[in-house]
């Protein structure tokens, strides 16, 4: 299965517990990965890198961090399949490097004992030796190497120490045949595995396509959840039910022989670990207080820890909004420049309109989010790498358990306040499927940064500037806060309902390693940031782009007939000739006034076209439906237009209310604000907008799923289109209901 071009390339798999510095080691050996393996329906990623050593080229496969090689879910199966060379996504490994953290050797050796059974050459990379030193733990690496029969190489990847020695050990290990697999299990268990093996061999069809490696036979016996059985025999013509019967009988015999499944595994492996490390690993008699412990006594305390977390969150959001501002302005300027260039190069017509309002603005809508995603992941990955995120999850667990989730859901939800896309992507740390789904489904309810322009427009235009509580709080600020709160409260309610109905289950247990504090590795942080950005561009980007073009079509067609456009064109012609006259007479003030008049005509023309378009007609069609929310067809079509991406609503409102699509920029927002205040119902002449209408629009935007990118990412992360459809349906229904209630109650209160 090795690539055709390079028959001699040797594949090395890198595996280890989480928080062992595995990613740092990967970076130190092979730099930035060449490619990342992705699997439909599975959320784990495997990066493949390359390095040259001793005149040969090697591939290095970075497998996801794991405590155990027991496949109980598709995610875990991918890792085991990759190690056993049973997946086409990565080359079958010729050798395994297992990263072992010295500060926690026993638990890391549990994984080593599993890897030893795979029958592949193994090299142990001993990391975190400095942390073990600080704890007072001493490890005899050469002694361990002799007892294990495989090289044990101490490495300090962030300082580049031990990397060459590790490469040397890899080269020597790959040249030797694999050691015979060593089983830590008691005799009765090994007998049962052999019996099962021969049963499977007798069932084996001649084509041999279903050969099951010994390690998986052993796992089959140990996996009482039934996942592996189903997985192995789903596309294999073996006698599944017969084997199930044989497994049941084998487990019964083992229970009688004092080898109960699955406890026999942890018992056997941890006693193997104890035998192997006996006399070679010495722990201090008394726990030595490290600076990490002192830090923890503050950061995990209920009062100081919560305050610190609040501070971190505040700084993070501030950074996401302020740091991202100038690159976002830069991107918008670039997009504007590109539009202008096309405008200059092409004559007016459908092609120019498609390129500028469809293609370029579509690309812009995608790329403009990159700075926020990069900055958010820069901060989150740094916090994760230094060990703080686990503490934040610990602090928040108590609160999250109230709505049926665990502390692990906190970080994804926190990220969603910036943008739900990275939020949904970061739910991968949650193992439990139901909790992960619940978290994904409520993440879009957090008020993301794209809702802010809508809130600011409506609040500035309609909420009176009034001070409350003796000037301490402004009514406008309070409204903004209330909108964020609406999202959180509704999310909590939805989580509670989901955990009692569709995704029924008790609050998940919370078991999370609080890894030792360390400095984040810039290389790892940078790599994750790039990966996330690329993920976003590839998944969300393509869909936003496609939808932008569709929306452009819906807003541009059908075109106005020449008869309908005639009055605007005549007015334009009149103004243009007056402009020429003013220029001739050198009247600068007159010239300026006429130019402004021309711009107004252009906006009227565009507005008339939009009203005439498919979208405008759709807006009229749904007017009866949105009237109970206090909206007319103009607000209705602006809202329809914002379903692909909510942030376009300000620009669409600008077009529909004849202010021009620059409403989102500069003083445009103020001009749009006064245009909205001036708008009225055509039949009665009563103002279209009042406080209840503004509130109902904002509540609708706070709760509605108006973001195709988020739905696309949910589709990718859940591996099905059911969940994005469900998210869309429930959020839109909730938004409609809440906007209706808001309008009716506010009308009643305002009289």
């Amino acid at each position: 299965m090795s690539p055709v071009t390079e028959p001699h390339r040797v594949a090395v798999a890198l595996i280890g517990n989480p928080n062992t510095g595995k990613s740092t080691l990967f970076g130190a050996i092979s730099g930035i990965p060449q490619r990342v393996g992705n699997y439909p329906g599975v959320t784990v990623e495997m990066a493949v890198g390359e390095f040259t050593h001793a005149g040969r080229r090697w591939s290095l496969i970075d497998l996801p961090g794991t405590y155990s090689l027991a496949p109980r879910s598709p995610d875990e199966m991918v890792t085991v399949d990759a190690l056993l060379g049973r997946t086409p996504a990565v080359p079958p490994p010729d050798l395994v490097v297992c990263v072992v953290a010295a500060n926690n050797l026993e638990r890391n050796f549990y994984l080593v004992s599993q890897v030893l059974e795979l029958g592949l050459p193994l090299v142990v990379a001993l990391s975190m030796v400095d942390l073990a030193d600080a704890q007072g733990t001493t490890i005899d690496a050469p002694g361990l190497s002799i007892r294990l029969g495989v090289p044990v190489v101490p490495v300090q990847a962030h300082r580049g120490i031990g990397i060459e020695e590790l490469k040397g050990a890899i080269a020597r290990g790959a040249a030797r045949p694999a050691p015979p697999p060593e089983s830590p299990f008691p005799e009765p268990f090994q007998d049962e595995v052999r019996r099962l093996e021969s049963l499977l061999a007798s069932e084996q069809p001649i084509n041999g396509a279903c050969t099951i490696p010994r390690y998986l036979v052993e796992r089959l016996l140990l996996d009482t959840s039934g996942y592996l059985h189903e997985r192995l025999f789903q596309d294999c013509p073996l006698d599944g039910p017969g084997i199930k019967q044989a497994l049941r009988e084998a487990r019964e015999r083992l229970a009688e022989n004092h080898c109960p499944v699955p406890e026999v595994e942890t018992l056997a492996r941890y006693s193997w670990v104890a035998r192997t490390t006996q006399g070679l690993v010495a722990h201090p008699d008394e726990h030595r207080v490290t600076w990490g412990d002192r830090l923890d006594s503050v950061l995990t305390s209920r009062l100081w820890g919560s305050l610190f977390l609040a501070l971190v969150m505040l700084l993070m959001f501030n950074a996401v909004f302020t740091w991202a501002k100038w690159p976002m302005d830069g991107i918008e300027a670039l997009i504007g420049g590109a539009s202008q260039r096309i405008e200059a190069a092409l004559p007016e017509g459908p092609l120019r309109s498609l390129l500028i309002d469809g293609v370029i603005s579509g690309i812009g809508a995608v790329v403009v989010f990159l700075p926020q995603i990069f900055i958010l992941f820069l901060i989150l990955t740094s916090l994760e790498e230094c060990g703080y995120l686990a503490r934040a999850a610990y602090i928040m667990d108590r609160l999250m358990a109230r709505v049926g989730l665990s502390g692990k859901s906190f970080i994804p939800l926190l990220s969603s306040f910036a943008c739900a896309i990275p939020g949904v992507m970061s739910t991968r740390v949650i193992e439990d499927r139901r909790d992960r789904l619940t978290t994904i489904l409520i993440a879009p309810l957090m008020s993301c940064s794209a809702r802010l322009p809508v809130y600011t427009l409506m609040i500035a235009a309609f909420i009176p500037e009034r001070r409350l509580l003796g000037g301490m709080i402004g009514l406008q600020g309070l409204t903004l806060f209330a909108l964020y709160l609406v999202g959180i409260v509704v999310a909590a309610a939805v989580a509670l309902v989901l955990k009692r109905t569709l995704l029924r289950g008790a609050p998940p247990p919370f078991v999370m390693e609080l890894p030792p504090y360390k400095w984040p590795s810039p290389r790892v942080v940078f790599r994750r940031m790039l990966e996330r950005g690329w993920d976003f561009l590839r998944n969300a980007g393509t869909i936003i782009f496609a939808v932008s073009i569709v929306m452009w079509g819906a807003l541009s067609y059908p075109r106005m007939s020449s008869g309908e456009a005639a009055p605007f064109l005549a007015e334009r012609q009149r103004l243009e000739s007056r402009l020429a006259a003013a220029r001739g007479s050198g009247d600068a003030a007159e010239e300026e006034a006429i130019a402004a008049g021309l711009a107004d005509v252009a906006n009227w023309l565009e507005g008339a076209q939009k009203r005439q378009s498919l979208l405008g007609r759709a807006g009229r069609l749904i007017e009866p439906m949105v009237k109970p929310l206090g909206w007319d067809w103009r607000i209705g079509s602006a809202v329809i237009a914002s379903f692909p991406a909510r942030e376009v609503v300000v620009a669409t409102l600008g077009v529909i209310f004849d202010v021009g699509k620059d409403a989102a920029e500069g003083d445009g927002s103020l001009r749009l604000g006064s245009a909205l205040r001036a708008a009225s119902w055509p039949q009665t002449g009563r103002p279209l907008f009042n406080i209840p209408v503004a509130l109902s629009i904002m509540v609708f935007f706070a709760l509605c799923a108006q973001c195709v990118s988020t739905l696309a990412v949910i589709g990718r992360e859940t591996g099905s289109w059911t969940w994005p459809a469900f998210t869309f349906a429930y959020m839109t229904a909730l938004a409609y209901l809440a906007a209706f209630l808001t309008y009716q109650v506010a009308m009643w209160v305002c009289g």
Binding site: Y67, S68, A70, R72, N103, N104, L105, E106, R107, Y110, A132, Q135, T137, T224, S225, P262, E263, E265, T266, L267, Y270, H283, E286, H287, D296, T300, S301, R302, A390, A393, Y394, D397, R398, A401, S406, G407, A506, P507, P508, P509, F510, V511, M512, E513, L514
Partner: protein, 91 residues
């Protein structure tokens, strides 16, 4: 609750106490883990095997325990019960 009933029965027979009763600084040896099978196996894999020494760092729910050089944030509620044999006075 079935799980706690089973754990209580074992606790009474063997003089083990629930992990949640440990105060800050107290130590104990794991004497048993009861509850949902898959979860119990996962906890065992993380190092909560019988005989392993646990050290209560921050009691409460969730608590923080230290276990052979690793710190774990830990909340079990009704899902599983960890019983320990009180070993050694508070250090």
């Amino acid at each position: 609750m079935r799980v706690s009933g089973q754990a209580v029965a074992v606790a009474e027979r063997t003089k083990l106490v629930p992990l949640s009763l440990l105060r800050a600084g107290e130590k104990g040896r794991i004497g048993g883990v009861y509850g949902d099978g898959a979860l119990v196996h996962r906890l065992r894999e993380m190092g909560l095997h019988d005989g392993a020494m646990v050290h209560m760092v921050r009691p409460g729910s969730p608590c923080i325990i230290r276990l052979k050089g690793q710190s774990l944030g830990f909340r079990m509620d009704d899902v599983a019960h960890v019983l320990v044999q009180l070993g050694g006075a508070s250090s």
